[in-house]
Subunit: 275 residues, 3 copies
Amino acid sequence: MSTTNPAAGALWQDLQRLRERSPLVHSITNYVVMNSTANALLALGASPVMAHAVEEVEDIVGIASALVINIGTLSRPWVDAMHLAMAAARRRGVPVVFDPVGAGASRWRTQVCRDLLAATPPTIVRGNASEIRALHIAGAATRGVDSRDDAEAALEAGQALAASTGAVVSISGPVDLIVGAGGVLAVGNGHPIMPRVTGLGCAATALTAAFAAVNPDAALAAAHAMAVMGLCGEEAAAHSAGPGSFQVAFLDALYALDAGTIRRRLRIERRPTLH
Amino acid sequence: MSTTNPAAGALWQDLQRLRERSPLVHSITNYVVMNSTANALLALGASPVMAHAVEEVEDIVGIASALVINIGTLSRPWVDAMHLAMAAARRRGVPVVFDPVGAGASRWRTQVCRDLLAATPPTIVRGNASEIRALHIAGAATRGVDSRDDAEAALEAGQALAASTGAVVSISGPVDLIVGAGGVLAVGNGHPIMPRVTGLGCAATALTAAFAAVNPDAALAAAHAMAVMGLCGEEAAAHSAGPGSFQVAFLDALYALDAGTIRRRLRIERRPTLH
Amino acid sequence: MSTTNPAAGALWQDLQRLRERSPLVHSITNYVVMNSTANALLALGASPVMAHAVEEVEDIVGIASALVINIGTLSRPWVDAMHLAMAAARRRGVPVVFDPVGAGASRWRTQVCRDLLAATPPTIVRGNASEIRALHIAGAATRGVDSRDDAEAALEAGQALAASTGAVVSISGPVDLIVGAGGVLAVGNGHPIMPRVTGLGCAATALTAAFAAVNPDAALAAAHAMAVMGLCGEEAAAHSAGPGSFQVAFLDALYALDAGTIRRRLRIERRPTLH
């Protein structure tokens, strides 16, 4: 990690741009995290819009700067809307971030993910190690939506997924790994209490979309989002007594994140690509 | 603003009545804010019930003291239920508060609003400036569900909407404007951080319904709800460090709101109707 | 209440087991409480998964250690999924906890409950007094989803329901009553502010499922869950200023609950069965 931390300047620039433009992020996401996702986007400086009816998703994509597709609590009508929205986003050049929540937990869920990815490759896929593996490996098992696995365990699957879809693949874990055309970015920020709060993975996906709205380099956008999650998670953990007060402090930290904190604590590094 | 603040007595009386009766507010509302809306109603002293199946909405309206219709995350089955519930409420004399969340953001959304308003005029329409304009003006554009616009920008549209539907129109903004048969009420309470928290507009709609359940003067009920939102927003902002701690302090403030705070800080004024 | 409090040892043992195994609790529950339920399960040490599509609920039950069926915001497709999931759980020996939220508030809601109970008797039914009465007595009225009634008012209905279904019946109130084959357990922990926060009843149901995943004695599992709710409610009330800060402190208390607090404050007693 360089002492001058040149990555900090790039993140701070993206964050300032995001706060100025307040990009509208259209989220077709799961019921569990709609409120916490909307609040994370607002606290960061972006604007959320949730809409999932087949009658309107294409119109909503038309006013959005990024699209989130998160399959957490999927059902047939939502899958139809996801197909329409992803296709509309691709036609309009709107970046799409796909979150395969719980891929591997049921055969149908895994199949829906594969169908969506095959129909319209997203800009970025963001998931935990078991989800990324489930997308790549037939029969890989996921235990619900948790992830306490290392991202490393899914690096090979992520690289194969990136190669086959052209998407950047962002794998979350104690160290997040972002797999892009140019190699692998590793983000070391975060705190062990984070898996004890629901929806932080989904918030990471939404923040990834917000950064993709202001930075056309998808790998860097993904890394910036994961870094902001991790930095604010560290900040929140330092000012809370458990997962309840953590959530409160996390939103406050997103709102307050400044250049100094980023400069002092950011841990992004580019890995040599030996593969 | 009068120094004796006669409006404070009327608000305090409504609030006491509400806390005694704990009116049941039936909310057919969006997924994003269901939890925060229910908590705002409970903290205020009302009772929430959420139910949206066509098989039961008429029964639920039959035990409710007010009905909220909020189209935030609408889909076809929900629209059907909204039509049934609004008609049942009208038959039974249950006040209806309609929130056209995101009207203007898609053609379908705007059309659904117009159909619902035409089928059963509500007691009160509560929205932000761009939503109220979208209901009135064909082709007016809304940028998602945000509103940072002045309510003034929608005053003319609100007056036309009030005239055509017979509903009181409550337009939120830095100063909220309530348009009724007797003129315009302006509510000056609030805090700039409030648009950075999701669902406060929807909470305002739910509180409007709770006040409408205890005060048959719909314009006054709407003004009291907006004033309570604003007063508790000011209180919460004074005791918080960002949008996370704001939400916590806001619910605590709703629960604790007392006569003294209302008397000292309430800012409601009746505008001379020059129009 | 014994001074050595032998019940404390059994609860602490279950809680340790739960934190070690982190059982996966599949929740088919209502929109209002999905987020707060998931967070309560995570703070306790369990793992939540929410999934409701008919295409996948049987697969998800297959990886779960317990199933929650909560009808709060039911609609036809969800009822279909509940039938499938309950039957799958029974086939696999996965404990099922059924929460008849708002039973009695509409004819359809009451009928759906009776149909589900008749098709597949659950392991545990957890509801408030008016809900339990509505399941048993044709025409009993429920006022929404609130419960400020004593559990005693539903003891007879609970005993009849337990006898007819074979389920343990857990009735919440200022004192919770758990009706099982061996008699009645009474849990005296809790705090009067708890009904002013939405979703705590639903969280109690989810925690009941988590305890049922680690303790085959369903009555004891239900009592342990209600006791944990009550103990953490007392703890949270002591460190909060209203329903907003209560929720934060409640999650922190679930996360931190220790043997000492349980030993000092647990109030479970077995009632002599005079009936």
